[in-house]
């Protein structure tokens, strides 16, 4: 019996690895089928970008069980950091990319300091509130008196493309796609390392047994801030890449529909499951795209889809939600 159990588990592991290899191979060769369609290449690139954002959100929401609703705020901070450096100071977008990560990470830590002391749903509402406030700050930063720092409502346009080995990514979609793919791979590798590091293990132990882990001296506040900051950093990097890819960044990045879409990506793909956010990103970005011709009905349909999928999709995909729920429940009582 025991032997049986082991072999089943092993085969599942093998299957997982196979699945991942297949998936990566698919992502690598995909452009060869679609290279002529700028639209498809654009959708695929957006999948990669949202995949990064969703996966960073998954890290804090799924693994650290922190009810963070402010992830788009960090995307915006990253995007604007890189965009402002590029537009106002002419700094290379590559340096901008790093600066974006650092800036979002620092802001994340600063926000985390007061917020992560709170419990459950309180964290959610405060972080959500912070991201709601950001458009106001951005518009304010775009007033003429401030040298039009942020570009206000209209945003900052004409952002420069990345230079890579002497190539300009320019408007060649396929170059952006591969750059995005490499970036996503690095992000995933980093997240994988984090969840298998001491910090990651500390979280798994906290998630599974609060009191036991605490009796071992696991300080969840400290680790929450670290992971919150790392998650913000990744979101910031994704935001910077997004800004330069789109060549424009404006406050619409913080709109509610994007918030909902990415949240659904995380939940659909599997909260607290490695790579879940990426899978969710591909599914949702694709659905969102095929609904585009429905015009003003798009969000009606999308809203209905969200309700139906979350209500009627077997909870197997989202088994980890239970754990988060337990955590939230613990915070609430």
């Amino acid at each position: 019996m025991a032997v049986n159990c082991n072999s089943t588990k092993k085969s599942i592991d093998n299957k997982n690895i196979f699945l991942w290899v297949a998936l990566i191979a698919l992502l690598v060769v995909a452009p060869f089928f679609f290279r002529d369609s700028r639209r498809v290449m654009h959708i695929l690139t957006m999948c990669l970008i949202w995949g990064m954002v969703a996966e960073s959100w998954n890290l804090i929401l799924g693994y650290a069980s922190v009810f963070s609703f402010g992830q788009l705020g960090f995307v915006a901070i990253g995007a604007y950091t890189s965009a402002m450096l590029s537009v106002h100071l002419g700094i290379s977008p590559w340096i901008g990319l790093i600066a974006a990560g650092v800036a979002a990470g620092i802001v994340g830590a600063l926000i985390g300091l007061p917020c992560l002391k709170l419990h459950g749903i309180y964290v959610g509402i405060v972080t959500f509130g912070i991201s709601l406030v950001m458009p106001t700050l951005i518009v304010w930063g775009g007033q003429p008196g401030y040298k039009n720092l942020t570009g206000g409502t209209f945003g900052l346009a004409g952002l420069k493309a990345y230079q890579l080995f002497g190539f300009n990514l320019g408007s060649v979609k396929i170059r952006w796609y591969y750059t995005g793919l490499v970036l996503l791979a690095i992000v995933l590798y980093a997240i994988y390392k984090i969840i298998h590091s001491y910090v990651g293990l500390a979280f798994v132990s906290l998630r599974d047994s609060q009191t036991f882990a605490k009796s071992l001296g696991v300080n969840d506040y400290k680790y929450k801030i670290i992971v919150f900051s790392i998650s913000a950093c990744i979101a910031g990097i994704a935001g910077a890449f997004y800004a330069h890819y789109s060549r424009i960044i404006d406050p619409s990045i913080l709109e509610l529909d994007i918030f909902l879409l990415i949240l659904v990506m995380v939940v659909l793909g599997g909260l607290g499951k490695f790579g879940g956010g990426v899978i969710g990103a591909f599914i949702i970005t694709y659905i969102n795209e095929i609904l585009r011709p429905t015009g003003q009905y798009r969000y009606v349909i999308l809203g209905a889809l969200v309700i139906i999928v979350l209500t009627y999709v077997p909870s197997g995909i989202r088994g980890a939600i239970d754990k988060l729920a337990v955590k939230i429940k613990a915070g609430r009582t």
């Binding site: 405060v126 009905y297 088994g319 988060l324």
Partner: protein, 289 residues
């Protein structure tokens, strides 16, 4: 001097609206543990409903429309829970999923408004036109009506919760859901009643405020955002705390708008909220366990 009195009145008006919105939110949260992101959509829905009534039955008395719309909102609130919330509650980990479902519902409803009514703003009549002049300052009759109606609603709600069987059963479920089952309460129904009550509260806020703001598909959204802050500020599930918070923040918003401009209200709210939560992690009236 009269400026200050007028600011005070504006603060009271705003506080009244926030009170109605956030008491609904906190009632739902306290009883059903659902963070209802669609509460703003219920606000908007009421406004459109009232608009439809007023534009189709022009001669109808304001208060007839007022109460018909609210009665409809009670039914809609009940059905809302049945359709969108109840199926999710059967799932494991529902208290997180349900937030996203209510968000999806908000997206659905708000965009339906856009499809049905278009992006153009609609107008709603006021309860009373004109204004009262009392010595050095004046108050529009509609503003006075907002304050009176909100206070009356809160008094009625208090009576309802403390004296009627349905109201008591709602409190019972909030305090101990296991205890509620033991005494044989139909918890599903009580959840439905809570959403019905919250629907009416959002509805009153909607009918009262939209004559001033005009109606458009997202009109409920900013009110909901601030209601959310008010709810947390007051302490989740505490009606008393929420009322204090609503009038404090209503006042703050008027002062901030007067001094710096309206768009700074929410940023200041968030700062106040964070500062308060640092010292009182469960809000003004929340119990720290």
């Amino acid at each position: 001097m009269s400026t200050y009195i007028e600011l005070l009145i504006s603060g009271l008006v705003l506080g009244s609206i926030y009170a109605l919105m956030s008491v609904g939110l906190t009632l739902i949260y306290g009883i059903t543990k659902v963070l209802n992101y669609a509460q703003g959509s219920l606000f908007t829905l009421t406004a459109y409903l009232a608009f439809v009534f007023f534009s189709n039955f022009v001669s109808m008395n304001y208060f007839v429309v007022f109460f018909i719309t609210l009665a409809l909102m009670a039914v809609i609130g009940f059905v809302f829970e049945k359709i969108f919330i109840r199926p999710v509650r059967r799932l494991p980990g529902w208290d997180f999923t349900v937030i996203i479902v209510t968000l999806g519902t908000a997206l659905l409803i708000d965009n339906l408004f856009l499809v049905i009514f278009g992006p153009l703003q609609k107008t709603l009549p006021r309860a009373f036109e004109g204004s009262l002049v009392l010595g050095a300052f004046r108050i529009t009759k509609h503003n006075l009506f907002i304050i009176v109606a909100a206070l009356l609603t809160i008094v009625i709600l208090d009576r309802f919760l403390s004296k009627t069987r349905v109201g008591m059963s709602m409190r019972a479920v909030a305090q101990s859901s296991e205890g509620a089952r033991i005494v044989g309460l139909d918890v599903d129904k009580v959840f439905g009643y809570s959403f019905a009550t919250a629907g009416v509260l959002a509805g009153i806020a909607g009918i009262l405020l939209t004559p001033r703001t005009l109606i458009y598909p997202l009109v409920g959204w900013p009110v909901f955002q601030k209601g959310l802050v008010v709810m947390v500020f007051g302490g989740l599930g505490s009606i008393k705390g929420t009322l204090y918070a609503a009038f404090i923040l209503g006042m703050v918003e008027i002062i901030i708008s007067y001094v710096f401009g309206a768009r700074w209200a929410l940023p200041v709210f968030i700062i106040i909220l964070i500062v308060v939560l640092v010292f009182r992690p469960k809000g003004l009236a929340g119990r720290w366990q």
